[in-house]
Structure formats: structure tokens, C-alpha cells
């Protein structure tokens, strides 16, 4: 067991903190939440220069070849600053391409993901909001030399910034498949913003007889199920790491506020009622942090722990939104205002609670892994 950061991780943390403090403050977060796509584009350009999309892409494909555990250190900081950039989306789709995709796709896309020329976002969920691999209704029909895709995907993050969507579809033989679908200025693809509480762009994607080459298929059948499960697990762990960082930021700012705010001639933070709220928040934040990093650590190039991934997402989803509500209580009326930034964190926590599977979804997976 080692809860300390490696030298590389220290470097990731300190450079991320410095950059994000400068470039992803509350003003940027609010601008993006109000639909400022330019703000995302400008932030993303700098992030690409910092090499963040290349972080976990293997070296043989032009990336830095760092581990998921290293990535989690960055994700914590992205969560703490609510940075509105698609690092999670890019990192987990590139992992799935690398683990399950044919060589041709890896050779073509991974180097471009590393340079930021390509960004692939996952498109799994549909109208029924299910993360189940066998639930897709969007169809991919083989027609001549093409796959023709028709149907609607929902809850697709950063679709406006993505060049491709890693799309879960149903094939002619009724089995699932994961297909890389170009969506950037692609005829037949219609994006509609969903006005999501996360404050980052989340859209529905309508595929109207979109033709792609069959060689864009990443996995089919049982392989597609495994790949989708791994994608959801990785996404859940990534959200857990972000939620851990978000929680740390909320605890820190609540400590600061309650240490300064005076009532009855003393800081409200000196009252035991407030101290116990904060102590419980601190325990929850630390638990989620450890579970997230323990789960991230289990994602090696070959494997991952189903149990740890589920536990991380369950704990993060249950504890961190609750932690935010308690932070509002500690802040009193000021924390109830639109002007105060606290609700930005609360909205993001609520949104991430359901993204990549809610607690009920992951508890079903964990119960299975426990032999129940």
C-alpha cells in the first residue's frame, strides 16, 4: 500500500493546479454553463498543448503511456476546479479503442487523439437512460459496403467538441456492437443540447441513415459487451476521481467560510454542530478519494477490478452529492444564492452521480461480483 504520489504524479498535480487556477476559475465554469463554446475551445487548445489528451495513450501510438492511476491524479484536479473539458471522455474511449479495437483503428486514431486532432466521446445511453451493453436500440444495418446507422443517442457529453462518437449499436443479427462514428460536420447527424445540470455540454445525437465503413467497428457480440462494461466502469471510476476532487474543494471552501463567518460573537465553525457536519464531510471525501484511487490503480493495460470500480462509483455517487447538501447547510443563506459558486459544485455532483451508472446500477454489478 502506498498512498503517496510518485514524482510523475506530483508533477501532474502541481502543473494541473497551477494551470486550472489560472484558466478554469468560476467565471469560465459559469460562461461554459451558459453556453459559451468558445471558452471550451480555448481551454481545450491549451490543454492539448499541455499534453493531457496524450497522457494515457500508449507510447507506441504517440502518447505518454502513463497509467490510469496517474490520470486519476489529474482527474481529481479537474473535479476540484470543475474544468469544462472532455479529458474523461477522451481517455476512456482511447482505452477501449486500444484494448478492443482492430489495429487499423488504433493506428489511425490513437496518435490523433494524442495530438488533440481527434476527440472521441462515448455514445452509449438512449431514451431509457440505460448503461446496459445489450440495451441499444440504435441500429447499424449492413448495406452494400457500408454500415448504416439510424436512431437516437442521449446524454452524449461534449458532442459539439468531439470528432467521433464511440457508439453502442444493435447489428443486423440483433447483437451489440461498438462503432466509431464520425460526427464532426457529418451529414445525417443532428445534435440537440439537453440543458444538463453539469454545466458542460450534453446533447442528444440523432443518426439519420449515417453511413460509415464496417472497418469502423471496434467490437461485436460478447466483445462489445465486455468493451462497453469496461467503458462504463472506467468512466465511473473517472467520475469518482473527479467527485473526490470536487468534494475536497467543497470541504476546503466550507472550512474557510465557517472559520470566518461570525455569529454570537464567534466563528460559526467553532460550534460543534458545524464541526461535526464538516468532520463527516471530510471522512466521506477521504473515503471516496481512496476508493477512486484504489479502483483507478486496478486499471492496468490488461485488466481491471470489477469490484473496486463499482465500489468507487457507488461511494462517490452516494456520498458526494450528500456532502454538497451539507455544505449548503453550513453556508446558510449565502449558499442558497445563484451568485455563490457552491451550487455549481452541487449541480456537477448531481450530474456525475448518474453519469456512467447510478448507485443502483453499480450495486447490481457489485452484488454479482460478491456472488449474490
Amino acid at each position: 500500500m502506498d498512498f503517496g504520489l510518485t514524482e510523475t504524479q506530483e508533477l501532474i498535480r502541481s502543473s494541473a493546479r497551477e494551470f486550472l487556477a489560472d484558466r478554469s476559475g468560476p467565471a469560465t465554469v459559469r460562461a461554459v454553463a451558459e453556453g459559451d463554446a468558445e471558452a471550451i475551445a480555448s481551454l481545450w487548445k491549451d490543454v492539448v498543448e499541455l499534453g493531457w489528451p496524450a497522457l494515457t495513450v500508449p507510447e507506441e501510438h504517440g502518447g505518454a503511456g502513463l497509467s490510469f492511476s496517474d490520470l486519476a491524479v489529474l482527474l481529481e484536479e479537474l473535479g476540484a476546479s470543475l474544468a469544462p473539458i472532455p479529458i474523461v471522455e477522451s481517455a476512456i474511449t482511447s482505452r477501449i479503442l486500444e484494448r478492443y479495437g482492430p489495429d487499423a483503428i488504433k493506428v489511425e486514431l490513437l496518435p490523433q487523439i494524442a495530438t488533440g486532432d481527434v476527440m472521441v466521446t462515448p455514445a452509449i445511453v438512449e431514451r431509457d437512460a440505460s448503461w446496459e451493453a445489450r440495451s441499444a436500440a440504435v441500429v447499424a444495418t449492413r448495406t452494400g459496403s457500408s454500415l448504416v446507422i439510424t436512431g437516437e443517442k442521449r446524454f452524449v457529453s461534449f458532442a459539439d467538441q468531439a470528432t467521433h462518437a464511440l457508439t453502442l449499436v444493435r447489428t443486423d443479427d440483433d447483437g451489440p456492437a461498438l462503432v466509431v462514428v464520425p460526427i464532426w460536420k457529418s451529414p445525417g447527424v443532428v445534435q440537440t443540447p439537453m440543458k444538463h445540470a453539469s454545466g458542460v455540454p450534453v446533447s442528444s445525437l440523432n443518426f439519420n441513415e449515417v453511413e460509415v465503413s464496417p472497418s469502423n467497428t471496434v467490437a461485436t457480440g460478447g466483445e462489445a459487451v465486455a468493451a462497453t462494461e469496461e467503458l462504463v466502469a472506467a468512466g465511473g471510476v473517472a467520475r469518482a476521481a473527479q467527485l473526490a476532487g470536487l468534494a475536497r474543494a467543497v470541504v476546503d471552501s466550507t472550512v474557510k467560510y465557517t472559520s470566518n463567518r461570525q455569529q454570537f460573537g464567534r466563528p460559526v465553525g467553532s460550534f460543534q454542530a458545524i464541526q461535526h457536519h464538516l468532520a463527516e464531510m471530510a471522512v466521506a471525501a477521504k473515503q471516496v478519494n481512496h476508493l477512486a484511487h484504489s479502483a483507478a490503480w486496478s486499471f492496468t493495460r490488461e485488466d481491471y477490478s470489477v469490484r473496486r470500480a463499482a465500489q468507487a462509483k457507488i461511494a462517490a455517487s452516494e456520498k458526494i452529492p450528500a456532502l454538497c447538501w451539507t455544505a449548503h447547510q453550513c453556508h446558510g443563506a449565502i449558499g442558497f444564492t445563484w451568485e455563490h459558486d457552491l451550487h455549481l459544485y452541487t449541480r456537477r455532483a448531481l450530474a456525475w452521480k448518474t453519469d456512467f451508472g447510478d448507485p443502483a446500477f453499480h450495486k447490481a454489478i457489485l452484488a454479482g461480483a460478491m456472488g449474490l
Binding site: M1, D2, F3, G4, L5, T6, Q9, S69, V251, V255, T258, S259, R266, P267, G269, S270, F271, Q272, I274, Q275, H276, L278, A279, E280, A282, V283, K286, Q287, V288, H290, L291, H293, S294, W297, S298, R308, A310, Q311, I314, A315, E318, P359, A360, H362, K363, A364, L366, A367, M370, G371, L372
Partner: protein, 394 residues
Amino acid sequence: MRFEFTPEESDFRRQLSAFLDDVLPINWHGPADESRDDHWALNQQIKKGLADRGWFVMSWPKKYGGADSSPMMNTIFAEEMAYRRAPGHDRFGTRMLGPTLMRFGSETQRTQHLGAIARGEVQWCQGYSEPNSGSDLASLQTRAVLDGDVFVINGAKIWTSLAHRADMMFMLVRTDPDTAPHRGISLLLVDMKTPGIQVLPIINMAGVHSFNQVVFDDVRVPKANLVGDLNDGWRVGMTVLNFERSGIDYAAWARASMEELVDYVRNDESLVSTIKTNPDVRSKLAGLSTDIEAARLLCYDVAWRQGQGEVPSSEASMSKVAGTEVYTRVLDYGLELLGMYGVLEPGSDQAELEGRFLKMRLFATSGPILAGTNEIQKNIIAQRGLGLPRAPKR
């Protein structure tokens, strides 16, 4: 970061587990009841066995008979013992007094006591709480007055675990009543056979004689039994508590109970087997197992920090709060699943799981109370960990 054990650590866990396989009775489920003579004999036997293998005080430095093992190894030791609900402890001697004597004790005290603790030949108890001094420990009233070369002790200690089995007690006494409460306290070592000591049993709500009231009536203790300086007992005695506060026992008990529950639910012969496919049950057990893992990681974090030379006070409090809370929640849910059978006492012919969950749940009530209530732990987390302001002095 690395979230796995070293081969050496895993190997040690296996060896300890194999030793416990040998020494524990077949079908042992625990928990041990030290008021039963057969369980007490087993406790003494396992202590010796652990000592023979060099594990009983492995956390201690080599020169005192230990193995200088890492805090992580010590955590694994404690975890595995608790996971098996194994007797074979002298926590007061090995975890609390031993390290305190190494730091504050005289050469004579070390020679006299450390070896006996290390060999598992002696049993210690801790005399801190008093009838009127619980969380506000510094208000303690038991008096020790110096009379030549002896302290004369008068007063009473309470909630003293194992006083009825112990050979020795380390206790806090008031040696100066005329100064601030924290400044007039001293730590003394007392032979339980000294005339004037009376041990009065207290039966806990689980029906077990686990703790006692200990009355001191003109008990004469050599001055040489003072640990550290006169009136410096608060500092010396609080060091003991720093060694005491960990959640690993609770996290391990929670894990053992959870596994027992999962096995029970899966067993077709069980009276509640039809609930195994109930999504509510699956979901609740999965949620609890998540919180057990969360508590466990907090304990490992404490061990890791200790290994880095830190004194992780706030983190230790977190582990105690998380461990005790999740343990009681697992047992609560166990009782809920067992339903009407859950409230049958051990010894009932119809009891499921031998009535263990009821007994353990009643016993577990003490977890959030003892060794610093969880409310006190939260004060520590808030003030020492988060730096929140203390309440102004009245």
C-alpha cells in the same frame, strides 16, 4: 500510489491465517467471551503461540523483543486477528503501555514489564475512565498522595475491561488537585493483587462480564511505579490513546460479518434463502460492502502515514468513526435480514447463526462510545484535521 500488499505482507497474512487455522477450535466463529474460562484459556494459549512465533509484539523494536515490523504489517496483524474473531490479545500491554514505556518509562520499568508483555505472560488493563469522568477525562478525581516512597491511592475507576483477568493496571491518578485539571495528573503502574483493590463486575448489555468497576481503598503503590514525571501524566497518558485509536478491528469485524451474511443468504438451506434474488437485498449488501472497503482503506492510510513518520491523528479518528459506524450498520442489516429469527438469543434451539448477530450487535454498541466517543473523534477531525476554531474558553 499502489493499492496492493507487498509479497512479504501477503505472505505474513497467510502464515498468521494458517497459525489461526491450527489453534482455533473447528467451526470457531467467535467472538471470544473472556469471562468464560475455556475462552480465557484459549486467549492465553494463543498469546503464547503468537509470542513463540515473534508476532505478539512484532511492532516493537528488536531490543525489546519485537521485530521492528512496519505499521502496515501491524495493521495486517490486527486485521487478520479481528477478521477471524480470534482471542489472543493483550491490547493494553502490547498496543498501549508497551510503546508508552519505551518512550517515557524508566530503565527498571522497561526491564520489569516489557519482556513479560512480549512473552504473553501478563495481562494488563487500563484505568482511565471514572464514574464522573468519561469524555471529560481530565476531570478525573482518583487521588494518589505521596507518603514517603509510596503513593496511596483512593477512588474508583470504571468501565475497566478485563480488570477481572488482569495482573496489572496502568492508571491515571490526580496527584495535584490545586492546579489546572490537565496539569495535576500522573500515570502509575499498579499490581492488581495489591491490598485495597476491589474489582466489582459490571455485566454489559450483551450479557457478558467484560468490564468492571475497580475501587481503590488506601492502595499503596511504590513511587518507582510512576511513569514519566510527576504531574505529567496527561501527556504520557494521551500518548497511549494515540496508539489506541484505530478502526481496523471494526473494519475487519464488519468484513467477517458481511461475508458470513452473504454466505448465509446464498445458502439454500437458510430460512431466508428466498431473499437472495431480491434486488433490495443485493443492493443493500453491495452498498455496505462498499462502505467496509472505504473504512478499510482509511485504516491502511493511517498505517501508511505512520510508516512515513507522521502521527496521523485526524486520520486515525476518521478510521475509528468509519469502522465503528459501518460495523454496527452491517450488524443492523444482518438482524433485519434474519427478521424474527434475528432476535433469538444464543442458546435458543431455533436461533439462526447461533444468535451471533444479536450478540455482536448488542456488543457493538460500545464501539462508537469507547476509546473516545465518535463525537470526540469528530471534534478531533474538525479541529486538528481541518483546523476549525475551538470553542472560546468560558
